[in-house]
């Protein structure tokens, strides 16, 4: 009833090609941005900002990156955390060696280094596909982790092997309290999400989807497979590198290579699978699910039992519920939460009529 397009006519090509062609979608997007930028900072506590929203945003950026690679370009990758690590360490190294550089430039540099490494480890994709490519990217994961642990140059010869992010200042303001950190991460993520949304709808995005669906046919119609696949790896790793830099600088403050281990790669892969392969909102939905659900279960457990059941049992129940929900989602809706959302929107267009 309220999601009808009746009466909305496009009078120019420009209007037809807009990202959000339906008026209600435009209102919803503006509303959501207002909510994120205005309402949440007004009401959220420090705990919510620091422990839930900022990690959620940082990881959703990585999930977005992996979604570009796996969901849109069809190249399976298990090296996401390695590219995050490259981003984090590259940004740190630049700032430590050239202290005058603003941290945003360091973030961009981290992203670019991660893109370079991503392209390097994406070279096998020109010859192998699917499961075998996943194993090749696994090599990236272990190699990068080993590299940062073994060569002290990367941690600036710190005795403990951890890197401590230098303090961030933007236009004279220090970014050290939860609110400013939240705004920083939110701005970066919103900009990247819009850019990726646009990229997906462009020729590059279409060539990625063609490669994903059937690469031989894509090659037959003239898409350069090498450029397309390597570009996918590059863009995806750039986002992962940016996410890693955010993780090191904003979320944790100090990071050792173990923070970007294989478990983190799997976590982001699960986010993308649950959220929905091949959709921008899927990255956010998946990240929200994976980050919020354990915390919610933990808190519910503490509330309901009031301390009579040990935290160990609650943690184990968390794993079980989590696993069961993942299995449930994959059976009921293999295309992820994004597909559920899309189905919901389609039903809304007809509501209140059943068909």
């Amino acid at each position: 009833m309220f999601y009808r397009e009746a009466g909305q006519f496009k009078t120019s090509y420009k209007k037809d090609q807009a990202i959000l062609p339906i008026f209600q979608d435009k209102i919803a997007m503006v509303g959501m941005l207002l909510f994120c930028f205005v309402v949440i900072p007004m009401f959220a506590t420090d705990y919510w900002l620091t422990s839930i929203l900022v990690p959620f945003l940082a990881l959703s950026l990585a999930a977005l990156g992996l979604n570009v690679l796996t969901g849109y370009a069809g190249q399976i990758s298990l090296g996401t955390a390695a590219f995050m690590a490259v981003g984090a360490f590259a940004a740190f190294n630049l700032q430590v060696r050239v202290p005058e550089i603003p941290f945003l430039v360091a973030f961009l540099w981290g992203g670019l280094c991660a893109a370079g490494v991503g392209i390097l480890f994406g070279l096998p994709s020109l010859r192998i596909k699917g499961f075998y490519l996943a194993v090749a990217t696994l090599a990236a994961q272990f190699f990068i982790e080993w590299l940062f642990t073994h060569f002290d140059w990367f941690t600036n010869y710190s005795t403990s092997g951890v890197i401590t992010a230098p303090p961030m200042t933007l236009l004279g303001m220090a970014i050290d309290n939860p609110l400013s950190k939240y705004f920083l991460v939110l701005s970066i993520v919103v900009i990247c999400a819009f850019l990726i949304r646009n990229l997906i709808r462009s020729e590059i995005g279409r060539s990625w989807m063609a490669v994903r669906d059937m690469d031989i046919a894509a090659e037959a119609i003239g898409i350069n497979l090498m450029k397309t696949k390597l570009l996918a790896f590059g863009v995806s790793s750039f986002l992962c590198g940016l996410s890693g830099a955010l993780w090191a600088y904003v979320v944790l403050g100090t990071v050792e290579p173990q923070a970007f281990d294989i478990a983190r790669s799997f976590e982001i892969l699960f986010m993308v699978v649950i959220g929905g392969l091949g959709s921008v909102s899927g990255a956010f939905l998946g990240a929200g699910f994976m980050i919020l659900l354990p915390i919610l279960l933990n808190n519910l457990g503490a509330l309901i039992t009031g301390g009579t059941i040990s935290t160990e049992t609650i943690a184990h129940i968390e794993y079980m519920v989590f696993g069961a929900l993942i299995i449930f989602f994959l059976i009921v809706e293999p295309n992820g939460l994004a597909r559920l959302w899309q189905t919901g929107k389609e039903k809304l267009r007809l509501w209140p009529f059943p068909y």
């Binding site: 420090d46 422990s51 005795t159 401590t164 403050g253 050792e256 919020l292």
Partner: protein, 434 residues
Amino acid sequence: MFRFLSSITSFFVFFVVSIAIAGEHFVPITSYRTGPYGVSGAPAANGYVDYLKMINARDGGVAGVKLAWEECETAYKPDRFVECYERLKNKGEAGATVFQPLGTGLTYSVIDRLAADKIPLITMGYGRTDASDGSVFPWVFPLMANYWSISTAKIKFIGEQEGGMDNLKGLKIANVYHDSAYGKETLPVLLKQAEKYGFELKGFPVAHPGLDQKATWLNVRRYKPDYVILRGWGVMNQTSIKEAARQRIPANKLVGVIWSCSELDTVPAGKAAIGYNCSSLINPGSDYKVFDDILKYVYDAGEGTGEREEVGNQQNYKMGVLMGIMTVESINKATEKYGNKPMSGEQVRWGIENLDLNEARLKEMGIEGFIPAFKVSCSDHEGSAPVKFQTWNGKAFEPASDWISTDQSIVRPLIEASAAGYAKEKGITPGCNG
């Protein structure tokens, strides 16, 4: 929509739970009972909680105010620890008193927040090592002994075994370490000691998690060391002990660090561990009044957190009790200055910085001989306590040495240099304001 529901629910959860604790000292317990290190973390958490329960039951709390606590599962992951920290830091009437992360990586992830939140951190026997210089790290306390101090004690122990520090000249010492930040942290101080005493040192990293060490120990065998320092954590320890036996390196030539020194490491290694020496912050044995009190006031009342057999007999459990002792003593000291009311983090920080556990106080608390006497000050957040060495006889740990003091003449300059570097990086002006 899912997020909306969960946010509404969580909001009510926090609201309800936070008003439940009032009029008590709040002790947050960030334990890890699951995950790869859960087997070490669970007994430690049990010890911590049991000690707090005992103090409440036997003494009615600290200075007449009861202790309240809440456990939060970190699974030894820094991001979960940060979430637990943020969740628990404002609980209780005066906020959280002190955090004890029991993990170096976890410690690092919150150091930068402590000054703003005004909550101290006790990191007994682990990182951040340069926090021993309290003028740069006012909120972090690596109490009793940090990694570097324990390393100097280890070399002294080896010297003792050889009959004198002069006999260290020309010895070959292998350092088998966990290939991580934790494992590499003692390399600089070991190299400095190698220079000073004239022994040869070679490092052998073991990739995490350390279940497959055959190649490493073949190399160690080829090196023909006189002693092997074992710096492991988790499952690496038992594998190392077994591999050493397989390579015919006698167990009494192995010297483990305090985190390679528990029944969890020696029992699975079986006969290979007999004669294994390792360092410890506490005296082996269970014959202390504090454990009798725990059994009497907590377990006999049916309130025991873990298994009865653990009390006083398990190294990690005893370390947990030690953590409880440190917390309670710091709160106690703080009440001496600030009065008999729930203590805040800032007040407990003063308490820790002015801790003076001398022999008389230890006797009063029923832990005489369990730990050595030591004193904390602003410049010395460590307390420079001596370290004990124990040896495994197949059934239990026995003392292998007396309390060996650490060599601060080597350690202190390194700490001050490292802390000064950190101060410069972060723009902190070091100073002791008490």
